[in-house]
Symmetry: C2
Subunit: 216 residues, 2 copies
């Protein structure tokens, strides 16, 4: 592995490790919006799964000789800005954010992981595995749509806002991290490869919105 | 086991299950006050351990034929009132609350658990095992005291406020739950037994305050 590849791996593990830490945070916060003790415990358990993933990533960073806090630091402000800009005000907004927002992020990280050497590719794919949130969110949101026909319009708008913020912050991160940009362009082959990558992510997003019963 | 004992077991598992859910919540909230990413991840991991305990208790409630949400419900307002009344405003207050407050609660639940039949006694003692918080809190608070001599006075006051709130809420819970009161009095033998129980809990509290370098 050349030094350039190694630092790109550290970048990717670093951004993911901080993403998992904020995922914990956000799920824990959203748990408090749950209408039932059962829903609250479900979200808390998902948060616990995220922090376990965080630990796997920081262990690997240490193994690679990197300091986990230093590896996460460059991504703190962009990820915090995303979460500040998309703070759910209701239980349903939180669920849509978790399903649609995490789905987008997961697809993006998965695409990049495919360019990584082992064992990091396997590790990233493993920590990106769904923690049961998807099925839970789909069930709750669909039930809410059945109960109140004003729900889908509001949540569809919210879904579009999430995508907008996600694109803004992703662009900011990549613009500041040449090694990540290089990894993506080299990995996809060329700019046409990049646009196909974006197409795949967009298609998957559309499917998720429809699965919730929302307009993409 | 007589029916009375069984319902007291459900009461105790119910209050503990809700206590673990609020412990998750509070640790997750305090994690955000952490001055470092490392401290934040440490608290998040402890929160994850609490929600795992919560799951063990609700599983056992289901096994006993009880509905976990119904078993927790009678204790929601007292535990929420305790946490509302003792919301930490700094990272150090959060740590003292976790160490001193959880220590008090743990000692109290442990005393009651000793009156339970197996397997519930073993389960309760297991979920009450320290999740690494104690050592972490002692280390951080002692370091802060070394760095700033105004810290111990403020935190000692805070520790006394925690005890006051804990006593108020415990009395409220027991007053409303005859079966728990009966379990304690039968278990300790008589009122002298109860006062020895309180003495043991108070002594342990004093030791914990001193371990932090604070005045009990």
């Amino acid at each position: 592995m050349t030094p350039v590849e190694n630092t790109a791996v550290v970048d990717l593990l670093g951004v993911l490790a901080y993403a998992e830490l904020t995922a914990f945070d956000r799920l824990a916060e959203d748990a408090r919006l749950a209408p039932t003790l059962d829903g609250r415990a479900s979200l808390a358990r998902m948060a616990a799964a995220e922090i376990a993933h965080h630990g796997r990533l920081t262990d690997r960073l240490v193994e690679l000789g990197a300091d986990p806090s230093a590896a996460m630091a460059p991504f703190v402000s962009a990820l915090d800005a995303f979460h500040e800009g998309t703070r759910p005000s209701t239980w349903l907004e939180g669920l849509v954010k978790a399903y649609v927002g995490d789905g987008l992020a997961t697809d993006f990280y998965r695409e990049i992981a495919s360019f990584l050497p082992e064992p990091d590719k396997a590790l990233v794919l493993e920590v990106l595995a769904d923690t049961g949130h998807a099925e839970f969110a789909v069930r709750e949101v669909r039930a809410a749509i059945k109960a109140d026909r004003k729900v889908p319009g509001r949540l569809s708008l919210w879904g579009r806002r999430l995508v907008g913020e996600a694109i803004t912050q992703t662009q900011a991160v990549i613009a500041e991290h040449d090694r990540l940009a290089e990894l993506i362009i080299t990995g996809t082959g060329d700019l046409r490869g990049v646009s196909r990558l974006i197409e795949r992510i967009t298609d998957a997003h559309t499917k998720r919105m429809k699965a919730l019963g929302l307009n993409p």
